[in-house]
């Protein structure tokens, strides 16, 4: 099981030890590139740092301690908002060619990262196999991560980091190699945009994991605004990874030690959850037959109650959502119905969870507290998934 270190000291000004560190940048505009280089120079004063940048990127001015490495990508990713298989493969090749011992991958909009954050990320990277960024997001941001990615990853792989799909990550060379090996299989099949799950890989390999608080940053948004397609893409990738690593997570026990989380309650205006509730109720009327192929009677009963709730009291119980996600994961594995249909049928349920979450936080509950409670519900229900994974025929909806 991976071990996690958190709360890396951001205020330390001691040398990071960047001799073997490679920082990989995404494609950036001239302005963003200059800003990023300035931040890197502030993050590593007087230290020589290898900075890899796609060859289309502009060059820095002379005299900078940053050593730029323009390179030609061997695998091209068309998904700039999140690191993909192509990015991991390119980074590892660069690290290998330049004999780097660790590399930091910065995501899109890297110019919005503070120098202290970059420094903390680099410092942790040279100490741990995998360093994952922790972001300060608003209560209505990163909802897929909060609803599915974080609780599932934490429950199944016993990892603590809050953002399994963080876009700024640090990799030791062996972690980079492991991810590149996985990425190679995707790129060889022409799937350059496939998502990888570094936390799951690190947990499976028993590598050390750290989480670094980055604070707030600007995020690039997906080019397509179609929630259905994006949710299907991300959940399909996660479910497939869970399926591939079933032998590991069925044995994994326990959780990482509790980390203090700030439960501040931001003042939020009441959200407009009407469209989401309409979508859920319409789906309940029409997709009940499909859901009944996937979900057990208890969950269907819970959904029925949910469909009758008034908007102001709309609240999906955490254990109901955990069961739904687990049952969909299992149905994905068993191919109970076509996988495209399965993931499409998940969208209205996800919107119902979002509506419930927004209602709850508008009533004064701290968003992060709800997410942590949800993660605990997922952990508590893990035996259900393990049991049904091993003996799926014991119960057929």
């Amino acid at each position: 099981m991976a071990t996690t270190e958190t709360n890396v000291d951001l205020t330390s000004t001691s040398a990071v030890g960047t001799s073997g560190l490679l920082i990989s940048l995404p494609p950036l505009s001239q302005e963003a590139f200059d800003a990023t280089l300035s931040n890197l120079a502030l993050a590593f004063p007087g230290e020589t740092v290898l900075v890899a940048t796609p060859d289309a990127a502009p060059q820095s001015s002379s005299g900078s301690p940053l050593r730029l490495l323009p390179y030609t990508v061997t695998a091209v990713s068309t998904t700039p908002w999140v690191p993909t298989a192509a990015d991991y493969l390119n980074s590892y090749k660069l690290a290998q060619e330049n004999r780097a011992t660790a590399c930091v991958l910065l995501g899109a909009e890297a110019q919005s990262l503070h120098p202290e954050s970059i420094r903390a990320l680099a410092k942790s990277t040279v100490q741990c196999d995998l360093t994952v960024a922790h972001y300060d997001l608003g209560p209505r941001e990163g909802l897929v991560t909060s609803a599915i990615l974080y609780p599932v990853t934490r429950a199944l792989f016993s990892t603590r980091p809050r953002f399994p799909l963080a876009i700024d990550i640090g990799l030791s060379i062996r972690m980079a190699e492991r991810l590149a090996t996985v990425a190679q299989r995707f790129t060889a099949a022409g799937q350059n945009d496939a998502l990888l799950w570094p936390l799951n890989e690190a947990a499976t390999a028993n590598y050390t994991v750290a989480e670094v608080n980055i604070g707030s940053r600007t995020f690039a948004q997906p080019i397509s605004a179609d929630v259905n397609a994006l949710l299907a893409q991300i959940t399909a990738s996660l479910f497939a990874d869970i399926d591939a690593k079933a032998a590991f997570w069925q044995r994994a026990r326990g959780t990482q030690p509790y980390q203090p989380v700030s439960f501040t309650t931001p003042v939020t205006e009441p959200p407009d959850i009407g469209p989401m509730l309409d979508a859920f109720r319409l789906a309940y009327t029409n997709l009940h037959d499909i859901w009944s192929l996937v979900l057990p009677p208890n969950s269907l009963l819970g959904l029925k109650k949910l469909s009758l709730m008034q908007p102001e009291n709309f609240r999906m119980p955490d254990n109901l959502w955990a069961r739904i996600v687990y049952d969909f994961t299992l149905a994905f594995r068993l191919r109970t119905i076509n996988r495209g249909h399965l993931l499409g049928a998940l969208t209205p349920l996800y919107l119902a969870w979002v509506a419930s979450h927004l209602t709850l936080i508008s009533s004064g509950t701290a968003p992060e507290k709800h997410i942590q409670d949800l993660a605990i519900a997922f952990e508590a229900d893990k035996p259900y998934l393990v049991s049904r994974w091993r003996w799926p025929d014991r119960f057929n909806p």
């Binding site: 909802l143 496939a194 929630v227 994006l230 068993l334 979002v354």
Partner: protein
């Protein structure tokens, strides 16, 4: 007169018995070929399943291939897929051998050889068409239903049922045509049905339901966009609600 009747009956009985005597060996050969090849297929499938399981074929494939065969296999197991392919391959081989044996039992100019054997072949094709059509209809029904629900269309169920029955009607027409039942009547009925549907829609939009359709379109246009719609983000500020 009674002697002639008796003679006619005797001749017809002899004729039927002769035909049965010719028919049964062919039928038994057909059944025997199917049963034997099915048994061989079951044995081969069991053998393959055991040997591939012992060789950990699924795990090796999962480690080496990224778009695995398991995508197409039942219960996510390539071993099960290979075993089933072997079984059904043997079964089909048995069918072909049996039909050939059945065919060989008759002289080339006999009615059974010239009519029933080709019809039997057509029947198998019709059954395959029926299965494929039913599967496609169910797939399209669910696809349309889920897409329509996610697009917040109130008439999602009607739309999906419409698509399902269109495909089923098309399949039925193809099957009947393949079986040469109904002849031109089926083609005519099918053409009238499809043409009627298209004409009805055209008239509904163009003439009779013009007001209803225009009101419906206006209502649709004024509805709040769904999270799945391209306009969704523009109606809700990005900093307000971000799924990713």
């Amino acid at each position: 007169m009674w002697q002639q009747v008796e003679l006619a009956l005797r001749q017809s009985a002899e004729s039927v018995l002769v035909k049965l005597a010719r028919f049964f060996p062919g039928l038994i050969a057909l059944l025997l070929a199917v049963v034997v090849l099915t048994a061989i297929g079951a044995g081969l499938a069991a053998l393959l399943r055991r040997s591939l399981t012992a060789a950990r074929f699924d795990e090796r494939l999962a480690h080496n291939v990224i778009a695995p065969i398991s995508d197409w296999s039942p219960a996510n197991s390539p071993t099960a897929l290979i075993a089933r392919v072997a079984f059904w391959g043997c079964f089909l081989l048995g069918c072909f051998i049996g039909i050939s044996a059945f065919d060989a039992a008759y002289p080339g100019d006999s009615p059974i050889s010239t009519i029933i054997i080709p019809y039997l072949t057509h029947s198998i094709g019709a059954v395959l068409l029926l299965i494929a059509g039913t599967v496609i209809a169910r797939f399209l029904e669910r696809s349309v239903l889920i897409s329509a629900v996610n697009a917040k269309l109130q008439y999602a169920r009607v739309l999906s049922l419409g698509v399902k029955w269109l495909v089923l009607v098309l399949t039925a027409a193809m099957v009947l045509d393949h079986l040469q039942i109904g002849g031109a009547v089926v083609e005519l009925a099918f053409g009238i049905l499809f043409g009627g549907i298209v004409l009805t829609l055209a008239l509904a939009v163009g003439l009779g339901s013009r007001d209803i359709v225009s009101r419906s379109l206006e209502r649709s246009a004024s509805l709040d966009p769904m999270p799945g719609d391209p306009d969704y983000k523009s109606s809700i500020p990005p900093e307000n609600l971000r799924h990713f």
